[in-house]
Symmetry: D2
Subunit: 458 residues, 4 copies
């Protein structure tokens, strides 16, 4: 094993998308650290209650910093139990006097589930949310900068009516902001437990009149609260909800990445991923400039989404627990690791994204006349035309057939002249210049961006 | 088509698990009703703003009650657009004077997404939550009634240490209660929209200085609030979160069903599904009493869980929207329909569940001595034994090998006598009578049950 | 229930995408028919073996044609067992003399699993494969017709090097053809069973020395073979594999739909969904021509794919069977129903797809010079240039920077002139006319199309 | 990075379930090796065709063995393209004369997809199938050894009628055998490609009249055949089918694991996982003997199954390819790695599985009388009783109510005596001794086991 290196790994999260910030919490080494913290919090509470002496507390604290994952695994190879192995490793480093207090009254999952709550809470707060917020900041800045940049709106991949590029960004500012807020509150709510082997405080009741108080005390040292009612394990719902929201966030990032990579299509060219001087686009087509970062973000979403099914499967544990989710729960951290990677990569890409104003204008002009079919129909309707939608639909077909601007076809339509005369100058203006038909896009882009800037303190 | 009956359906949600209460909101007829309500709310707001007269409002209201899904589908067959078909059907029932105001400034998804928000909110509040609450009530009653009924706790399908049956129920009371609360708040938060074809209020800005105010006005008539920022569609996250929580609830029900059906195994027999007098268990084995209701609940969970992936896929919609989620969004109601079915079926089953106290006692006794290995090890440790866990592990192996009670083996162990002498009478008591080793199970069962009884006003 | 109509359905497969051809096999009525066929085959084999008389056989045959799903459900409501209900309905229609032979030695799943094998085999052969083959025929014709139509190849949404439109089609001909072949062989292999309640032929052994022979006899009447070894149920793998392949086919259709709808983007416009004269594109934007059929196909794929997880979950059945897949197995037919819908809709759409040759040529020209970067680099390399890829990459950057054709930049590059001189006329030709750089696209398009035309007898 | 160790990994497939045999093919180092083999095969074919000299071939071969993943990643960091980085690393190790021939006419995915086909084919053949076959051997031996060991059959977790333990094993022998055969043929069929950047042989056509022949030549050196028609990539269906079958195999293993762990329930105790002398069952309950290996197998299945959805998502690649599956395809090897782990762990566990004959007999006796309800009803029916099933159902209810053996209740039933008198001695025998009512279980167990022993040459 010693000779294994990074590239002997099988999962891309380890050999390719590995991230130091994430690994500090979610690697096996990180996990060991959190489990040791929990074992230590337990002894600290025993000290506080006078069950054991302060010296014992200090001995255990000193022992815990020395335990390594490697030695725990070695011990586990011998006795085939992960937490007992951890306990043995601590015990081996303390005096006989201290030994009995290590893991006292605890069951394995008092340690595991509490350590999981602690580390997921921390990694979400310290790594995932900051990564998403860094992206949010970029989006806010883009929304403000491009608030007035007119872009054709697209539905079904077809030109619809105009918006502004900043407005499109503001939509993502709002969606991502909402997910950041949701993640914050879900991470805070992750509960721990110290209720023993079947959740009824059987062991701790042997020593304490208020075993629930004792549990709360241990968990408070870790900044956690207890589950209302646990079995051998913490009820899985809080973690499930957190991972659902992480998946929701992934969906927002993937949607944004999809939008941006389609806007980079050769024929559209409204935005561009910055290319480094030395960067190669293709091993055989030297001219290629591919949106590989955006594609990567979408692809990571394809990794993440199906895995929520594993999380839901892991929600089921028979009776006071079975361990048919023992291995699979170990894969939950990967979900967060991938979404952190997505957030960081997308933030970098969006920060350097170039917006091509010339192409935006060119594309808006492609169907000039037709884009105003909507205001034309609505104004006609408002002016009393009884069948405005159908009338305008026929006009657009005629315009397409005759390859003439809609404006011209309209001018030639005798029936509609009485309506045209009743239009306000502003209304007539819009029918000629679709770039004015952007509703409150610019204003809203700014308002939404400013609101989230404040809310997140950016 | 006329001759189609219930059994010509392909989906079991229609031919077998169909529920009238659910269908009122989630069938296609139900959906038509909600869409008409939205179109009507729009006209009502136009009346209120003086854009059209009260007479027009009345005409439209009268028309809406007459529109049938069948005629909308017929019109859609002609023009290939579902919402325009709906609009045409309303228009056909009003005077030319009223025609222009129908659907005015709206895009299809102003209607569809708002109707979806309204009906999902309603079905969750009026059908799903009441169904889950009915189950919760049964669980609370069982938890209280069986709070003191000792049962062996099971981990890994193996006997662990004792709890009470009521305590096991209380765990589900707590988990299900938490999900009911979450569903309530998520349903309330479902937003609608009236921001037009690309979300920038392009059309409504032609008429109103405060198009966002107008949107809020229309939605308020339906008890909804607007999305902070929409495109052609409402951002999907609120609905995604709701459906995640519905799936979370399904997981809780499935976990309970799994627990109960395993407790019905012939060899365990701690609980029983009530059998009706005429009920047949097997087409060929007349003696069979199968837990088919519990199995059905678990099986519906297998239907529900993977479908959350469709929901997450549907979160992605390109640019101002594409319709690659158009058909799939139509399957979201099925998720709720299945979970309502699960809740109702499980409530019925749990209500009639028989608890076999004799078998509970018999099973607890199977490993009598071994069950107290935990308290023995912990008491020894607390009394200063430096290697209590390993010592007791060896004793249990000896007890199993010699087929003797652990108690007896303990009495024969010379090394341990000094510790035994130091034990309190209560501690010695527990080592002989595992039924006393239930921690605070009974007390906690009652506390949790009472808390949720109050919280949900049951 | 009587008053329920199509639009009271909750699932879109019933109220919207329902198909008569599919329902004949996969609706609950269809299923009843198949189950009756199986019960009848059993009695026919008993007759053949002389266990009962031919008169009994005739009585049962006459009874079976009269049984309706509605009466079976009514009986099931009373006795809570679906197959016993079916048996009771047949029994009620025959003389006491015939009664004992109905369902004799059979367990419920001898009937259910055998009926499922029979109907899935039939619906795949009679409906799914013909639907896919109809699409295949359209693709073959398009591949042949457009074999020479040059189109720019696209990777990462960026222009790469040219192909022909027919060649792109041929890729789908090959993929879809392969899936049709796979479906054929998997459908044929679906086994049935008649091995009784736990698969050991316990009951039939009471009557026959060769119970496996008897099983084979019953199944042969239905065109099926027995599973090699069954429990109460047929091992699920054959059905799982079939449904995997149905999902594979869905992926091919979705990929094609995606390609075609992106080629319809306003800026690209290489193909078009035909629009009917009366068709409305948007409820508010009368000019819209949306690729709704292609979007629908993709969306149905989003329904289908996650459901394969339900199929895999249903693979697990404890011991000789449990029924935690009882409800979920009932949803498997929906997978096939959706894919039939996808195939039919896509065939209709592809048949009327317009290919815009002018836009194809226009798009190919956008990056004219750059498209030939690949042949330039490869020819240079073949002529001995030691760093051709990097050299050409720099040239393309220069061409983009200076907005000049690559050809011109090349002509100005002193270093490369010695290489250019060594090029053959054909090689120089290609560097100027990218439309000649299509490899063997046209030839291969024809060859692949012709091969599948023959293979499938089209 | 240098300091990273195994426990800095985030995925359990790397820090916990990593397997040397698997990593040789599926780690990033393994992948580099396969990609180098493909680049080398290309040059070898160029040599063979006389495009370059044998010396060039030797130079490249010598260079390839020196390239390390670490240096490729370093180069990729600089130029942002993985395959160009690999090519540069080879080029840096050869003379200028050899440089042009490296990667000549190839596109990145000619290398990647071909390397993937080669390594998946190899790992399935050399690691996965042998692991599954080792398990199959254990199952065959158990089936033969326990062919006559009577066990009660269980449906719905309830006692049904008897089988033998060997027969239950034979069911798995048959299912697993079928999957091994399927894997073999799917692995063999994995195609590679050498058709260039868009699949039309654009580049290779510049040099060869028969570019398809050249492709076949390169691939033949790797033991592969070409895809019938490719784009930039090999059509994904062959790989998708292979991974579906790997998932099918996982389902069979999980089903077996589930069966075995339920048979280990404290109350059932028919089988046992062997416990090592030093093994700890619980960190707090020293007596516990948990079926952790079987639980682990089931849990790995929960990891594997949802990931097939990623595989199906990755089936879609726009036009000649996009890279929205670039990262996710990198996770496909994990599926195989987990299933190899499952197979090896399950083989070890099943090999040491103890079968408790005493408990098997005890459990069979629990419902003695009731188990024969089926033969009783069938014999009565065969003897002409017109309503045998209902009659026997009533008798079993009576037996349960009065807590008397069914046999006794039967003897007291006046109506049935005429039938009893007509029974054969053998039939009467079975009604008293359910252990004789096992059909052909023993015979079939042996036949199935022997058949697969031969088929797989075990």
């Amino acid at each position: 094993m010693k000779t294994r290196d990074r590239f002997d790994c099988i999962s891309p999260i380890d050999y390719r998308y590995w991230d130091d910030e994430v690994a500090r919490h979610l690697s096996e080494n990180g996990f060991t650290g959190y489990k040791l913290e929990v074992e230590l919090a337990l002894v600290a509470a025993l000290v506080h209650r006078g069950i054991c002496s302060e010296e014992v507390g200090k001995e255990v604290a000193a022992a815990c910093v020395q335990v390594t994952t490697a030695e725990v695994y070695e011990e586990e190879d011998r006795i085939r139990h992960d937490i007992r192995a951890l306990v043995n490793c601590i015990r081996a480093k303390v005096s006989d006097r201290a030994k009995p207090y290590i893991h006292m009254t605890a069951t394995s999952n008092d340690i595991i589930d509490t350590a999981n709550a602690a580390r997921f809470k921390k990694v979400v707060k310290k790594v995932l949310i900051p990564s998403l917020t860094a992206l949010e900041r970029v989006l806010i800045n883009t929304a403000l900068r491009e608030a007035e940049t007119v872009q054709v709106g697209r539905t079904h991949g077809q030109h619809a009516i105009p918006i502004t590029f900043g407005f499109a960004m503001a939509g993502y500012v709002s969606r991502l902001g909402g997910s950041i807020e949701a993640l914050k509150s879900l991470a805070v709510g992750l509960p721990g437990k110290f209720s023993g082997a079947v959740g009824a405080y059987n062991a701790s009741s042997l020593f304490f009149d208020d075993p629930e108080g004792f549990e709360a005390e241990v968990l408070a040292k870790l900044g956690l609260v207890p589950a209302e009612c646990s079995t051998q394990i913490v009820p899985p719902e809080a973690m499930t909800r957190l991972l659902c929201e992480v998946t929701v966030a992934a969906g927002i990032l993937a949607n944004l990445a999809d939008d941006m990579r389609h806007l980079q299509r050769t024929e559209i060219g409204e935005v561009g991923e910055e290319f480094e001087a030395a960067q190669v686009g293709s091993s055989t087509m030297p001219q290629k400039r591919n949106p590989i970062n955006l594609e990567n973000v979408k692809s990571c979403w394809e990794i993440v989404v199906p895995r929520i099914v594993t999380v839901f499967m892991d929600q089921i544990s028979e009776h006071q627990r079975d361990m048919t989710n023992g291995a699979s729960i170990r894969t939950h951290p990967e979900i967060i690791a991938y979404v952190v990677h997505m957030a960081k990569r997308l933030a970098r890409t969006m920060k350097k994204l170039t917006v091509d104003h010339a192409n935006l204008a060119r594309n808006l002009a492609i169907q000039k006349g037709l884009v105003v079919a909507e205001p034309l129909y609505i104004i006609l309707a408002a002016l009393g035309h009884p069948d405005a939608h159908e009338k305008v639909r026929m006009l657009t077909l005629q315009a397409q057939r005759e390859e003439r601007p809609l404006e011209e076809v309209l001018a030639d339509d005798a029936e509609l002249q009485t309506y045209v005369e009743k239009m306000t100058p502003h209304q007539r203006q819009i029918l000629i210049n679709p770039q004015f038909y952007t509703g409150i896009a610019a204003k809203k882009a700014k308002a939404v961006a400013e609101r989230w800037k404040q809310k997140l303190g950016l």
